[in-house]
Symmetry: C2
Subunit: 379 residues, 2 copies
């Protein structure tokens, strides 16, 4: 591939028949336009936000493989009740991978493109699970000298999401935060931002081990949702911090309602006169992930001043506008090896993405298990 | 009571012991201050929003009465799991009744107060389930000549709530509305506003009879949630109207999520490129009531651009400010006998509020059954 004209690309396909296929395809590498470069991708994380596109609604317990080497194909069935949600992607072979990093091996004619030749850059824009990616200069972030592709692979999704949460807090008039699945890579990053910026953060985790992990990282407020005292612990942490905004990665179960209920108990404590409508303090939960497949369930008994809603990075960045989004990006570049450092438990090749034992491992989305793909690693 | 110094007032009490009591008390009528009047209350509706304070979390299947005449006391038990939600009102004997109308029988010294002597006025401010109410002139709306207290009893809650929904729609950039429990008094009012103002309204009802009722009132889009074709009917109505905002009176079950799902199907139909994050069209459900006691349950599979939240009239009026709130009030006064007319199935005395068969009837909150209290009707 020294000519950079073709390369392997990972593809996810769901057919109208309900058949799911994951495979590698050799694709042409488009010649770069004037404002584009070709990057040899050397690192791309498997974020929870990638897995939705990667595996769709496939039932992984039905997964099997055929073929060998670059021709391995993973097949599985999509349960019929989920086919409607897949309607928009049926029979389209989709490239995957939101972000990554690598070395610029070819550049378009513009000065900005030429300036990147040989540089290590971080990228955002999809189709990163591939050996080569032709991409606009504007979607690249040149990394400081001495930064490896692995160090720069997660420059966008987790760093900008965690910074976006803090930015949302400020813009919507809250002064402290609640975060669920708080021991995640993203959660640890948010914890570092909040410690650095002096923001009170209530971390909700799902085990004593996760609680210890965060406390060892300096977190002051950590509540274990599996503890019998959880609601009391949470209420106490909310009273101490005054947090009225939560970001939830689980997207299912009763946690969202429990958070709003505990916020309301805190808010009602501060009221002088009874109102059957509850407090007038606005309490908000943003759901940004779906680690939990159960439905969200809650009784709206936390007053009338509450909101729940989806939160997604890219529309948020669009809303705040170019200058503010650029300010967030610059902070990421400046603190890439400290605040925004990511850790991976395993580095895998494109071929290993298709190995069933590895597929099942990353699909678990377990805390502490985070996979980095190096598409140019030998299979 | 011709001296207007004392009068009967209805009281609701929940004791720390979990005992609920509904009773009539003879209370002193406070002398009016300069900017106040004393009103002989002749009509006050039992709105769903009153029943929460009136009966609290009492289990009405345990209700019993003791005493006779004005001394009847209804007792019942509050299930222990609901006592926490009642914490703010324990051992406080609460007057009830958000709005009402009557005749001014005594006035304070100010010119504005004196001008109301003998006038029929509508009032907002609580404690209306009483023979007399001392109240600020600012909380009275003088009714046009020829308007009875019964006609003016529901000038505030339903009219301003339904106008507030339309106002919210405009302010938040939506162009059509969805309403649940749409055959209610409030729903019929909203239907009249939307017909008059040329706004597309998707009415969701719970029976063929309710569907017929609304169609007979000129409603164009009516979906019966008990029909097997409900989701298809709803999606079709949303495609036709482009409604991306719903107001929900039920506050429980799966309807809220079904509405967001159908809105997303509509929004995705308009998309040109697949995104696993769904459409970027913001879809909103405001929950303003709690006719349903089940929890809200939904799977957040309608993209990321969605919101659900509480909506309450008085904070909304505060938010839009005095001038705009006044504009809404003036429209109500001008269209009181047409757009904002309310209909009652029964007029009852204060003593009848305590009769178990009647209590159970208004607690059903059934469509078509609406109670008006005349506190000066002989018991």
């Amino acid at each position: 591939m020294s000519d950079h004209t073709t390369g392997l690309q990972l593809r996810s396909l769901i057919k109208k028949t309900g058949d799911f296929e994951l495979s590698l395809t050799r694709v042409e590498i488009p010649e770069p336009a004037a404002d584009e470069v070709v990057v040899r991708v050397e690192a791309s994380p498997i974020n929870p936000s990638d897995i939705g596109l990667l595996l769709g609604a496939a039932d992984i317990s039905t997964a099997a493989t055929t073929g060998s080497g670059d021709d391995v194909v993973v097949t599985a069935k999509v349960p019929v009740q989920f086919m409607k949600a897949m309607a928009g992607r049926l029979d389209e072979s989709m490239p995957v991978g939101n972000e990554g990093a690598g070395v610029v091996v070819k550049a378009g004619s513009s000065e900005a493109a030429q300036a990147l030749l040989g540089r290590t850059v971080a990228m955002i824009g999809g189709a990163m699970y591939a050996q080569y990616r032709t991409i606009k200069v504007a979607d690249c972030l040149p990394l400081p000298d001495g930064t490896t592709p692995a160090e720069g692979a997660s420059c966008f999704v987790n760093p900008l999401t965690s910074l976006g949460m803090v930015e949302t807090m400020r813009r919507e008039g809250h002064t402290a935060l609640v975060h669920t699945a708080a021991a995640s890579n993203l959660g640890q990053m948010l914890n570092r931002i909040c410690l650095k910026d002096g923001i009170d953060l209530v971390n909700i985790v799902r085990s004593p081990a996760q609680e210890k992990l965060l406390r060892d990282l300096g977190a002051k407020y950590v509540c274990d949702s599996t503890a019998p005292s959880f609601m009391d612990d949470l209420t106490e942490a909310l009273v101490a911090t005054g947090a009225t905004l939560a970001f939830d990665a689980t997207g299912g179960g009763r946690l969202q309602g429990q958070i709003l209920s505990a916020m309301e108990v805190m808010a009602v404590k501060a009221m002088k006169v009874y109102s059957r409508y509850g407090s007038t303090t606005h309490k908000q939960v943003y759901v940004y992930g779906r680690l939990e497949s159960k439905p969200i369930e809650f009784s709206p008994t936390f007053g009338m001043a509450w909101g729940m809603g989806g939160w997604l990075l890219f529309p948020f960045l669009q809303k705040i506008g170019g200058a503010d989004a650029q300010r967030l990006r610059e902070r990421v570049a400046a603190e890439l090896k400290t605040t925004f450092a990511s850790h991976y438990s395993q580095v895998i090749s494109l071929q290993e993405v298709l190995q069933l034992d590895i597929l099942k491992a990353y699909n678990r989305r377990a805390t502490g298990e985070k996979f980095l793909i190096n598409p140019n690693k030998a299979g």
